[in-house]
Subunit: 346 residues, 2 copies
C-alpha cells in the first residue's frame, strides 16, 4: 500500500503531520452535496455508484482531508437482509417489519455483498480508480448492536427499550440476532476490503447506552467476532463507539488498530485508558465548528497537546459533522490541524 499518512497513523508509525478526516465529511453542510441531493433521494444516492462516488470525493478536493470515506448508510445492510427501509422527510429512518422474535431473525437473509450490496462494491471500485492514490479509502459498517437497535426499534429510539427487553427477557433471541448480524457485518466488510477499501471503521453509535455488564454480554463478543474474522492484511480496523467513555478498557480487548472516541472525555485520559499500543481517533466536539477560527484553533491546540505528538493519533470529530456547520470552518479545521501538528513535529 502507498505510504499514506492516515494508514501510517492507524499503525502508530511516524507521520509528518497528524492526519485528519471527518465523520460525515460528505454531507449536507457542503453546497456541492446539497446540489446532488436536490435531484436525488438519499437512498437512491447511496445506491447509485457514480453519484455515491461523486459525493465521496467532494470533501477530498474541498477540505484536503487525509482519507476518503465511502458515502453510504449503515442501514443498507439491514435492507440487504430483507428489511424495508425508508427515510421520511425530516424524520429518522423507518425500518419494517421490526425484529422481535426468533422467527423474525430466521427470516433475515444471509447477505451476498457482491449481489445484494453490489452498489457499495461498485462505488468502492470507482473511488479507488478516481482517487488515483491521492488518499486512502475507508469502508465501514454499523456494528451488530447498533444495527440491532434500528432493526428491533424500527428506527431511532430514546431508551431502546424493545431491544433491551429482548436482551433481558429472551437473551437467546438477542444473541441469535447479534450473531447473525456479526456474520453479515463480517461478510460485508470483507467484501469492501476485497473491492478496495484500504481501512474499515465499525460504527457502534449506540453501544454507549449499555451498562458495562450488558456491553460484556451483548456488544463485545459480536464486535470481537467481526474483528477476528476480517482480512486485515495491511487494512487497519477502527472501532468507534459514541458515549463509550466508560467502556474503553473493554474496547481495547477488541484488538482493533484504532479506537475512536467522542468529545466527552479528554483524549489523553482516553488514550491512557485504552493503552498506547492502540491508535486513537478523535475527538473535537462537532459544535466547536460553530466557533470562529481563533476558537477552533484553541480547541485543536488543546487536543493536539493532550495527544502529545505520540504516533497513532488521527484527528476527527467526536461525532458526525452537523448539517448546518459553515463549510469554511471545516476547511479551517483541516488547515489548523495540519499546520499545528506539523509545527509540533518540526
Amino acid at each position: 500500500m502507498a505510504d499514506y499518512r492516515f494508514i501510517r497513523a492507524c499503525f502508530r508509525q511516524k507521520v509528518d503531520r497528524t492526519p485528519i478526516w471527518i465523520m460525515r465529511q460528505a454531507g449536507r453542510y457542503m453546497p456541492e452535496y446539497r446540489a446532488v441531493r436536490e435531484k436525488t433521494e438519499f437512498l437512491e444516492l447511496c445506491k447509485t455508484p457514480e453519484l455515491a462516488a461523486k459525493v465521496t470525493l467532494q470533501p477530498i478536493d474541498k477540505l484536503n482531508v487525509d482519507a476518503a470515506i465511502l458515502f453510504s448508510d449503515i442501514l443498507t445492510l439491514p435492507e440487504a437482509m430483507g428489511i424495508d427501509l425508508k427515510f421520511g422527510k425530516g424524520m429518522g429512518p423507518q425500518l419494517s417489519p421490526v425484529i422481535r422474535s426468533r422467527s423474525d431473525i430466521d427470516r433475515l437473509k444471509e447477505i451476498d455483498p457482491e449481489s445484494s450490496l453490489s452498489f457499495v462494491m461498485q462505488t468502492i471500485r470507482i473511488l479507488r480508480r478516481e482517487l488515483e492514490g491521492r488518499v486512502p479509502l475507508i469502508g465501514f459498517s454499523g456494528a451488530p448492536f447498533t444495527l440491532a437497535t434500528y432493526m428491533v426499534e424500527g428506527g431511532s429510539s430514546k431508551d431502546f427499550l424493545n431491544l433491551k427487553t429482548m436482551m433481558y427477557k429472551n437473551p437467546k433471541t438477542a444473541h441469535a440476532l447479534f450473531a447473525k448480524l456479526s456474520d453479515a457485518v463480517t461478510a460485508y466488510l470483507n467484501a469492501q476490503i476485497a473491492a478496495g477499501a484500504q481501512a474499515v471503521q465499525i460504527f457502534d453509535t449506540w453501544a454507549g447506552i449499555c451498562s458495562p455488564i450488558d456491553f460484556d454480554a451483548f456488544v463485545f463478543p459480536y464486535v470481537k467476532s467481526v474483528v477476528d474474522r476480517l482480512n486485515r492484511n495491511g487494512v487497519p480496523v477502527i472501532y468507534y463507539c459514541n458515549g463509550g467513555s466508560t467502556l474503553l478498557s473493554r474496547m481495547r480487548k477488541l484488538n482493533t488498530d484504532v479506537i475512536g472516541v467522542d468529545w466527552r472525555i479528554e483524549i489523553d485520559v482516553a488514550w491512557k485508558e485504552i493503552g498506547y499500543d492502540r491508535a486513537i481517533q478523535g475527538n473535537l466536539d462537532p459544535c466547536v465548528l460553530f466557533m470562529d477560527r481563533k476558537g477552533i484553533e484553541e480547541r485543536v491546540r488543546d487536543i493536539l497537546k493532550r495527544a502529545g505528538g505520540r504516533p497513532g493519533h488521527i484527528f476527527n470529530l467526536g461525532h458526525g459533522v452537523l448539517p448546518t456547520t459553515p463549510v469554511e470552518n471545516v476547511q479551517a479545521l483541516v488547515e489548523i490541524v495540519h499546520e499545528l501538528s506539523r509545527e509540533d513535529r518540526a
Copy 2:
C-alpha cells in the same frame, strides 16, 4: 431531624439497610397516577398542591421507598421567570420565547418563590403534614445548564447546538444566563428548604453532553454557586448528572453530600473516582425493571456487592423509571434492595 435511613445514608452514617427511592417514582407507570392524570393536565397537576401532594404520596404507600420526592417539573422555574411553557400531546415540552440574546436574558424575571412558585411551597407544606414523618421529603430543581438547554433550544434537543453556539460565540451572554439561573435555582431551593424539604436534588440531566473543558467553564461554576449558597443546615444536597461518567472527579469538587450516577459505569468504579468521602446514589439501568424478579435480583446483587456495604450508598435507578414499567417489578426492586442489603449488614 428524625433519624431517617435516607438522610443518614446521605451523610454516610450507618444504616440498617440500603435506602432506596426512584427517580420519577410518582409517574405514569402507576395506575393510581394515570387515574389522576386522566382528569388533569400535567402542568395543572404540578400547580394544584392537593393533587401534586397526592401523587407524591402514591409511591410511598405502594412501594415502601425510603424517601418521597416532590411531584413537580424542572420547567416550572423557567415558567416563573416569564417563559411560556406547554406540554403538547406526545411531544416534549415547548418553551417560548427562546432565549438567544442578552436582552432576552434581561427580560427574565427574578423569581420570588413564595409568590410565583407558591404552589410548590404549598405542596411541600401539605406533604410534610401528610407524610407525618414516615419518610423524608426531597425537593429539587433543574441545574442552571440543564434549564438553559430548554430555554435556549425551546425544548428538548439532540445536539444542543443553539446553546453551545451561544457558549462559543457569545460566552458573555451564556455566562449571564447561567448566572441568572444560578441565582434563581438558589432562591428556589432555599425556599423549598424553608418550606420543609428535608433534602434537595439538583438535576443536571443534560450536562453530560459537555466536553470536560465546557463543563469546567459553563457548568461547574454555576452549580457550585448554587450549592455554596444553600441553607444546608442538616439538609443533604444531591447532584445528579446523566451521562456524566467522565466528569466525576470534577463533580466531587461541587461539595455536595451525594452524587447520583447513571448505569453506564460500574458503581464501584464511579465511587472510587468520586471519593469515599461523598455518598453515591444509583445506579440500575431503568430497563432492568422489564426483567423478571430473578433477573432484577441478580442486577441488584451486583450493584450492592460493588457498593460493598459501605455507608453512603442510596439505591436508585440511573435515570427516571420508564412509563411502561410493570409496577410489580418496581415493588419487587424495593423489596429486593431492602432484603439483600439487610442480609449484607447482618
